[in-house]
Subunit: 229 residues, 2 copies
Amino acid sequence: MKLGKLTDSPKVRRYDDACGTAHALDLIGERWALLVMRELMLGPKRFNDIRADLPGISANVLTQRLAGLEASGLLQRRKLPPPAYAQVYELTDWGYEAEPIVCSLGRWAARSPAHDPTLPISASSIMLSFRTMFDAQRAKGFEAVILFRLGGESFTARIADARLVITRGESESVNVTFTGSPIALAGAVYGGQPLDALDAAHALKTEGDHAMAERFTTLFPLPPKVGQS
Amino acid sequence: MKLGKLTDSPKVRRYDDACGTAHALDLIGERWALLVMRELMLGPKRFNDIRADLPGISANVLTQRLAGLEASGLLQRRKLPPPAYAQVYELTDWGYEAEPIVCSLGRWAARSPAHDPTLPISASSIMLSFRTMFDAQRAKGFEAVILFRLGGESFTARIADARLVITRGESESVNVTFTGSPIALAGAVYGGQPLDALDAAHALKTEGDHAMAERFTTLFPLPPKVGQS
DNA sequence: CGGCATCCGGGAAGATACTG
DNA sequence: CAGTATCTTCCCGGATGCCG
């Protein structure tokens, strides 16, 4: 039997630096930490759902990150009311305020020559990327409600007044429904793959107003890769 | 004699994730990487100067980070022309584009209850923090050129038209000169310490127009800590 | 099934010493 | 000054197993 030192100094490896950026890295600089927060950006999730959307993370590390983020005040564990009872992890208000960080990182790295968009992507990731890459100019005069069914998770995007609002869950009066995998949706929006080809390949089913669906896929221009133009 | 495997896959630990945020962490998610970039945000530096401003980093790790960032296309090594000859590290254009990330991280983490502003801070950090926290409203109608001499490094801040421009180096027609340590300057701007007290303590010398100096210190309001109002 | 503790192997980070 | 070499420590990732 071994008893962990009671005086166990937390032994956290910190940057002893008053700079806010350095402190941010103390909070979310550990491996996986920011991706865990990304997965929670669109609403609370349970342990195994986070884990499933972060291929490569071990249960071990996920437990540590959740505990660390909770101790920092960035997320809370919450028991769902009956009849669900399940325990979920939910960002605090301050945690949600990290969204600009996630988005600016994503926008910046999209210019990387080494970025490989064919890798797997989670549902939360691509919905967040829409918030990041949305071009208000291109959306002028466009009004639509788009429903996404991505492997068990549903999201609704509402576009009006050149603004985009994305929420978790289904919705009424939907103009377009996309059903399929996040990667196929990414192919349509970012890879320039035609919707009918994806439909024919049974990768992404498009239902509803196809003109609106086509227009939707044009609203998220990628920044130019470095070294180009 | 040992021969490293030629087929040695770089063995970089990557997130296999198409999400831009995840790719950003592949690029700058390693420990110290973003702080190295922060130190270069205001202009090129040489190895030992970066090292001196990042207390805690070992030469070993700094070498690795510089090599990694160079391989990713985020910085370049450059030989200064005669008579300096020294080798310096300089961010590429794309590297400089990471400034919004550094700033949004800093602004977000400034709300943390665990943030300790009494820790040491580098000259680059505090000059960058001015860019981050600058409040254009408060600067309306204020015009000033402020020179900072912070332990061997000089920076100039120009405020006009409710805009702030910070550059490395000295300048002509200066209204105010601050001379001292970065931490003392932080005390004045963020800690509410009176300039004359800092001057009396020989921590920060203020020369020139003291009214302008006082006003300058009010232009950088900190966001409220979480849990407060 | 969901959440967490434990053990282990490999590799990254930290500290120090050394070299051109 | 600008790194390299070496050694130690600790974190990450994987597997297993406990417990509600």
